[in-house]
Each structure stands twice: as C-alpha cells, then as structure tokens.
C-alpha cells in the first residue's frame, strides 16, 4: 500500500476535529493514526458499575521502589547530556481534585536530537552516551512530582510520508485505583508540529487536547541552570471511597 501523504492525513484530522466534544480520551479507532486500525476493539466496552470491584483498589509503591537519582535524568551517566536542561513539575490529582499521594510516576523520552536509547529506534540522529531518558518518582503529599531532564527533540516516524512527532515526554501514572491508570504524553507549548500529528490530534476536543501541553513557567526556571515547565495531571476513573486517604 502506498503511504499516505501529510495532506491526506491532515484532511482526515480536519474532518474529525471537534468530534466527541467534551470527551477527553481519544477514540481507539482514530484512523489517521494508522497503527490503530487492527488494534482497537470493534465491540463496545462492557460497563462495570460494581462499587466493590477489585479495580477500585490498586497497586501501591513505596520508598524502596524509587531512588533519588531516578528523578534526575541528567545525572545518570558520568557526563552531562546535551540539550536544554529543564525541570518539569506538577500535581497529580483525581477527578475530584484530591491529590494522588505516594504514587508512582514513570517517564521516558528521546534525547535532544530526537533519538530514543532503544534498539528499534532507527532514526539516524545521534545517541547521547550521557542520556538514557528514563525516570521515575513518587508523588508527595500534595500529589506533586518533579523531574530534571533535557528537552527532547522531535522525531520522524512512519505513519505517513514526512510524519514527525512533536517533542514530547511519555508519562505513566497510577492513582489510588487501578481504574485510574493513565499512560499519556506531555507536549511543549507552541510546537509547530501540533497540527500535523495524528497522535496528539486523536484528542479531537480542543480543550482536552490543550491539557496535554505543559506551560512554560518562568518562576520555575533556575537562573543560569534550567528552564521550568509546569504540567498538572488529572486521572480519570473511580476509586473506592473506603480506601484511606494518603495510603
């Protein structure tokens, strides 16, 4: 099959934009993201309304599950990685606005040149011997997480001809309940690649899509050291009410 052009994909994106108003999560069948075609269920999901469901509780993590060094992606090797040093911080909340405390946040990202330290990344951009791009931390009592890293570069992929991903950091989050599990991507403000990217545009509600973009926060920037970005995360899904706060 001949690969689609950006014009083809952009036309499909435009046709679906604004559909699913008010819905945050992408349609798993979103066709402009070609890999979704054979990987989404055709049948509707079965809705579970059992207030005692096992899924209303979830895994817990503790001080032994992360180390100090895991939050600083610039200090995992003997030298400093290349790129714009940055900090990214924010709060993890449930949909009632309560902080998600003591839970695991995992991130992974490309290096400043847009290359992952992953064997299957064939992008001919340089690897950085001083950057792996993996971090994790546990949220504090306010639900706050914080990482020091470098700004990832955009990278090409094979969804269609001349497809480029906007710069992003992958995030994996746990809530108090397994139902609140979230894997997502954080983007950087003002990236010119936004309109061309079928993964970001799979969120067809404009306001919801904007929530994937971090804010540059000058007060978080450290003089002569790093630039600061703020990104708050709200986990969807119910949790059991009988689980103690701050467990």
């Amino acid at each position: 099959m001949t690969p689609s052009t950006q014009a083809d994909v952009s036309a499909e994106i435009a046709a679906l934009r604004g559909t699913r108003p008010g819905l945050a999560h992408p349609d798993r069948a979103y066709a402009p993201y070609r890999s979704s075609a054979l990987r989404h269920p055709r049948k509707p999901l079965v809705v579970v309304r059992d207030p005692e469901a096992v899924e209303l509780s979830g895994p817990v993590f503790g001080t032994t599950d992360v180390t100090e060094l895991d939050t600083d992606l610039t200090r995992q090797h003997t030298g400093e990685p290349l790129g714009e040093r940055m900090t990214v911080t924010g709060r993890v909340l449930d949909r009632d606005g309560r902080p998600v405390r003591g839970q695991l946040v995992e991130i992974w990202q490309a290096n400043a040149a847009g290359r992952y330290a992953h064997q299957r990344d064939g992008h001919p951009a340089p690897l950085d011997p001083n950057f792996t791009g993996v971090g994790r931390c546990r949220t504090d009592d306010d639900g706050r997480y914080a990482f020091t890293t470098i700004k990832p570069g955009p990278y090409p992929w094979r969804n269609h001809t001349n497809a480029w991903r906007p710069a992003h950091i992958h995030f994996s989050l746990f809530g108090r309940a397994f139902t609140q599990r979230l894997v997502t991507q954080m983007y950087f403000p003002g990236d010119p690649l936004f309109p061309y990217d079928p993964i970001l545009q799979a969120v067809t509600d404009d306001a919801a899509r904007d929530r994937l973009v971090a804010a540059y926060d000058h007060d978080l920037s450290v003089p002569e050291w790093s630039l600061g970005y703020r990104w708050d995360i709200v986990l969807d899904g119910p949790a059991a009410t009988w689980i103690e706060e701050g467990r």
């Binding site: 054979l38 989404h40 809705v47 579970v48 503790g62 599950d65």
Partner: protein, 196 residues
Amino acid sequence: MGTLPPTPSQTVGPFYGYALPFPGGEELAPAGHPGTITVRGTVYDGAGAPVPDALVEVWQAGPDGSLAGAPGSLRRDPVTGAVAGRHGIDFTGFARSATDAAGHWFVRTLPPAPHRSGAVPHLAVCVFARGLLHHLYTRIHLPEHATALSTDPLFAALPPNRRATLVAAEERPGTYRFDIHLQAGASEETVFLAFP
C-alpha cells in the same frame, strides 16, 4: 463528583520497552512458592497477528483476599540504582509483562482469594500497546471459579459466546492460557471493560 476534566490518554508508543518493564515484573509469587501458578497468553491484533509491542499489567487480591497490596514491586538498590527485586515476603499484587517478539506475555502468581465472601476472584488486567490510543481493561478468571462466575451479574449479562474470553484455560496443572484479542470477529474479541 467528577469536577475536574481528565488528562487525555495517549498511546504508550513503541519505545516504552527500556522504561516500563522491570526485572522480575512477571514474578508476583515468591520464588519457589508451592502454590505458584503461571498465567500466560498471546496478544493478537485484528488480523490474528501477534502484537510484539504490548504491555500487560495485572492487579489482584492476594492469596488471603487482601486488596491492600504492598510496596516493593520495583524495589531498587539505593546505592547503585539497580533493581533489587521483590523481597518475596509481602505479596505486592502488581505484575507487569511486556510481550516478547512472538506477542507472548506471562505472570507467575498466587491464585487470588475472594476479597469478600461471595466475590468471584480474578486478575484485573490493563493492556497497553503501540497503536492503542487508550489502554484496555479485562479480567482473567480461573476455570475452577467458572461455576461461581456464572452467577456474577456482569458475566451473566454477556452474550454466551463472549463469556469464554474472560476465563483462562488450564493447559496443564498450574499453567493457564489467556489470550488477548484486541480486535476480532463475533466471539473471539476479548471482552474489555469500562469503569465510568
């Protein structure tokens, strides 16, 4: 309730493999525990091809029925940062298995007990994959609970031809198969769940 709009999901993509899987992620049961069972399977796409870049997570009650879990699934050495692994004393209830090149995943665990009397125990499953924009939940029931399961309201409400997708098959004593069909025809597609 539900006052804040949620952060949208995005696909896990193809490159989580050096970030999310961790050594011993599949080994939920303490090493050498005589009650250990293996649950394994293949993740398939809509063409019936194995999915080599999926991630399967399991959350379950312990053998005592507790849903409290325990920290330490990813226990690390604070000196070297290396993964020290579960210490095997507490049952963390959480496992993570990335599919291999043949789309195969597995967990070695202890059978969950009911979290309350009358509950049908199961392994809660969350599936991520490249190409999947939003994770999917399903449940693994062991065949020995099939009779109790038939009275479970969720299970009873399903068309009979779809119920089997939620029950693991015993391959040999202690080893169960649970394939996950992200997309398939009338009866093969796995039943996936939503928690509103």
